[in-house]
Symmetry: C2
């Protein structure tokens, strides 16, 4: 029931799951890849967020498996999560476009078309 905008770690989590179901540790790696190494999700953030998102119905536990003697919980994006992600990216895209438009105009102004003085 929360209409508040997603924070970046949460946005990245949903994005990482939009692709295909993944388990917690795999999400850390995937997010590392998506963000080109700029975001290293902490386990404290991760598992807390996963519980919260399941609670909110944005993701669900797809299955639990054991690979090489290690237990895994595989999460999948739920439909509600897909909708939220779509709406969020849509809004963010508009904000980013506006910010870039203004930054470009700002730079154009700074250059001063006819002779830059001081």
């Amino acid at each position: 029931m929360n209409e508040r905008p997603l924070q970046e770690p949460t946005l990245l989590l949903l994005t990482a799951l939009a692709d295909e179901p993944r388990h917690g540790y795999g999400l850390i790696q995937e997010i590392d890849a998506i963000s080109q190494g700029r975001v290293r999700m902490r386990t404290g953030t991760l598992y807390g967020a996963l519980d919260r998102l399941v609670q909110q119905g944005l993701i669900r536990v797809e299955r639990e498996e054991v690979v090489d003697g290690r237990a895994r919980k595989v999460y999948a994006l739920a439909e509600a999560g897909q909708d939220v992600l779509a709406a969020e990216t849509e809004r963010l895209r508009a904000v980013v476009a506006e910010a870039e438009r203004r930054l470009a105009a700002r730079r154009a102004h700074a250059i001063r078309p006819k002779g830059a003085l001081a």
Copy 2:
């Protein structure tokens, strides 16, 4: 010194100032416009954030003026703020693009190119 990603209200504040200097109340209106009425910045968020951003050197108090008997503080985007905004939009643009790419692929998969069965 905080490299943490900006939250949306902060992002919108910097975006609203990228255009031209504005005072607090004007920022509320501008953000309302930018977000097409979807974000109504609260004064609690606003003035707290403005103080914080000045403290961080991302914006500065351009001037103080009195218009129609009402005091105003006009804020301007500092160079550090411009850099942070540019970096932030750049990263967000990549994340948004990736999210939309995955959502599109997801929908294409759901449609099933040749005969959708159940």
